[in-house]
Symmetry: C5
């Protein structure tokens, strides 16, 4: 998992724990039954929402989204321009040997292989765009799991608090016990809110960001592959791909070329 995620979660838990410990023992906020209602209820709702096989597949997608270092799009541009030079000089068939030797992005390899096979450009573009859509769907499923948790955890937090309140209200004979009973009732809401806002929702947001970055990179590669397939001059290939880069990345590209 990327370090920012770990730092963020540890920092959030640390802050909350610190704020508690300034005035009270942390044990006042640890209640296994409350944790069971919130975590278990959320897990149960997630189990209804997502078939088990999907959860496993989704977690694999999520893990990959977290661990895979996002490739700088500048690298894709330089790679594509270099391959365009080879294709221009030695013919597109000569790319075959380059692709099998180098360590290229599988999506790029797949697109260029179709081009080398002499397939119709419209077919290549359609297949690559369809694949981007398949990937987007998978990412959306991953996000849906965490969005589901962000939705169900506070709901079961509230359900837990309702349970606590009803029990407390049924037993109001001992007024001394009212405060502590209500304190425990509120702990499930606290858990649910923390799970939603420190884990589930931020992770869903990060998956959305990563997904949009990966899709942008894939669209860049499609544009590059189509340009190489069309036999474009490497300078034109680069110019077509510049539109995917921001100013800083264009600067990097110029520095790399220099």
């Amino acid at each position: 998992m990327d370090i920012a995620t770990i730092i963020g979660i540890v920092m959030g838990i640390g802050l909350v724990a610190g704020a508690i410990m300034m005035k009270e023992s942390i044990t006042a906020f640890i209640d296994p039954a409350s944790a069971a209602v919130v975590a278990g209820g959320t897990a149960a709702a997630a189990l209804v929402s997502f078939p088990l096989s999907n959860v496993i597949k989704i977690l694999a997608v999520v893990r990959k989204a977290f661990f895979a270092r996002p490739v700088n799009p500048v690298n894709h541009v330089t790679t594509l321009v270099r391959l365009a030079e080879v294709a221009r000089r030695d013919g597109i068939l000569s790319l075959e040997s380059h692709l099998s030797e180098g360590d290229y992005d599988p999506f790029l390899v797949q697109g260029l292989r179709m081009a080398i096979d002499g397939q119709d450009p419209a077919v290549i573009e359609l297949a690559l765009e369809q694949e981007v859509e398949t990937i987007t769907d998978r990412h959306a499923n991953g996000r849906a799991l965490f969005e589901g948790i962000a939705k169900f955890a506070p709901a079961f937090g509230m359900i837990g608090t309702l349970i606590g309140l009803v029990i407390m209200l049924k037993n109001m004979d001992d007024p001394d016990n009212l405060g502590p009973a209500m304190a425990i009732a509120l702990i499930t809401t606290f858990y649910g809110s923390l799970i939603a806002n420190l884990f589930a929702m931020p992770i869903a947001d990060k998956l959305a960001l990563r997904s949009s970055q990966e899709v942008a990179a894939k669209l860049l590669i499609i544009r590059g592959v189509m340009s190489i397939q069309a036999g474009d001059n490497p300078r034109i290939v680069q110019q077509k791909l510049l539109a995917f880069l921001d100013n800083k990345q264009r600067q990097q590209l110029e520095n790399a070329a220099a």
Copy 2:
């Protein structure tokens, strides 16, 4: 219904019941009048939202979505590639006998029949895409029913609690009764929240997931049928369909071919 749904709901109810029973008799949370307000009010609102005939049709769609085991898209690919081989070898008309013998997906059969009939590719594609849209609409209606329940159950839970609070506040003469009266008032909110978060919303989410999977499978079949209709080489058919598979499914396809 798929097992995960049953396990999830049973587990959720079990957890909630367990949390209650640790401190209180479960009967404290069973109140038929409260259940009538929440379930009845939700049913009444659903009846206004959806004409009865639609509810019956919707439930059939939902039941099908739950019981039908989702077909692995890999199987669709192998089937389509095999049919492409037949069409390539013996002509597209020879598919007719295969289709009437084998146990094929009805949507696939329908598309290929139109191709065998020699209809215009654009007409075939339009008809199949229109059917996907009709299916998507039906799924959306099924989802809308459960989303409606997820919306109305907490609302009638709150309405029940308001009724309980107003009655309690009108009769504050006996302070000893305040706690238990408020406890009962809160039970409708508890019911509404549980119905929404353990049944209705997760089932709506699962229907969304199933719908997107079924649509993806249908789009795969459309692409395959159009490719067979165009007389594509089976290798090309497979390549066009690969874009719908993730890496693990591609692996399965390779293993199946080996």
Copy 3:
């Protein structure tokens, strides 16, 4: 209005009234001033949102959506196939006499009249699609009115409760009156919630469902008209329209043909 709507609303009110009367006189929940704040405030907000002339037009659309029995799309298909047979046999001009005699859907008549007039297919399709858009806009306005009520009724319910609470808090000298005063304050929230969840929101949902059904029927008719205009074989016309039917409706169509 369709019966389900009336049954649903009556059933909802009955349940709520029953739940109240089990413990308290129903008069405790009837407060004209509260009703005036909620209903009047909601009406005032709706008046700002929608010009009067629009409200009248919208209500006509809504009434029509409720009273008009939705036509079974199977009937549209059989009608279109029958007209296609006539057009194929006697020429498209021969449809004119059929249209003026039979009791046909006005939208269908309008489309076929344009075809009989010999207008360009693209012009016919554009005009019919534009009309579907105009209808969709009108339905959306009708829905917007009920969605507005569903939004403003709970808001004015809360405003009424705030008024009641402020007055109660200003006059805390007589503690005996606190409970009843707060009970009355809560009644506006109760009214607002009931208006939103038993009337406005379910009706908005039903309008959405009806609108999508009517649009689907119109799209079916467009496809059929364009197919007749193109001189398609009746069998092809039917095949093109099948995509708009679900399995049960296809069964009905086969039974009708038999």
Copy 4:
């Protein structure tokens, strides 16, 4: 401003004031400091959201949307059909003198002038559609201002209540003062809710309705101009434009023609 808006707001304020005065002096609900927090805080947030120059421009758009009486689309149709007759009879160049004499919609004039200039139809259509998009953007900005107020007013209402509650809780020595202090704390929530639900949200909704009506009228004009430019028969022009009218408007058109 259209009368319904004024009536609605006056009626809403009257109802709320009446409900208050039935039980309490209206002065109990007037608190300048509370008003300053809610109105000032909302204004401050709006100032951060919208640059001053935009607010001024937006208010002009809004004022225009309110004061301009919406033109009956039937009038646009009769005008366009009449101009189509002239163009058909005397040539499109002859429209020039009509346009400079009559009192025509500026958008219609602009479109016909481009047609008279002999510009390419695709260029005319693109320019007119772009203008519709520019108008839609401006309307969306106007709506965004009122949606912002509808969002920020309740938020600053709650912030004001929090301030009041914190001050009250810090000074609990005098229990007699608790009620009135909390009453004042609640007044900001009351103000925020009233601003949002009686002014800002309904006005945003009305702007949305007006915008959709204006856009529909502009699209009707575009269709008409393109039809005149193409030299269509006036009867065809009318038939193409009928799709933008509902049944009642078509009746009006027939009556006008009779």
Copy 5:
């Protein structure tokens, strides 16, 4: 930062502080531990949502969006018309020297350079539109950061209040301390609401407005560049661009021409 933003935030803080100081010392609302929970928790959630490198890049985009004075689209039109005159008179190649001398918008320069290079119009348009999409994505990321803060700050405000409430309820022995303890508990909700509604949400709204303005300007430039590339008459170029201007801006353009 533009002045309205600073004025708005200062004015909002001033109003809130003023409302507090009318009745209580401002120190009652300053609590470092509460600030740490809200600001720290929000920062932690943001850190999980957005990788650090993205936050830095996003802040650069945001800073630019705030500081860059939005260019009046009228200036773009006059510049493009002037360049169209040069291109018409001296040929498109003659623009090269103008572009290298003058102080032109980089996006405009890039588009015209591609036109001067003699690239295919479709390629130029695609590249420029792709760049607009890249810019829109970057703006959306900037907005997402502030929308995230607007979402997490109130959530951690509520988490802080829950912590305070639980601690207070656990220690109800000293009733004199109840009020002040609850006051402090509420301060985190106050902080969270203020951060969301005075900073984060209004800034996100302003970024949305700025983004839409910048995109509209870029689309205007694309239309102008394509028109110059096509060798359009300067009068036609201007007419095509008028659609992007509102009435006041058209007036400015006429005045500038006069």
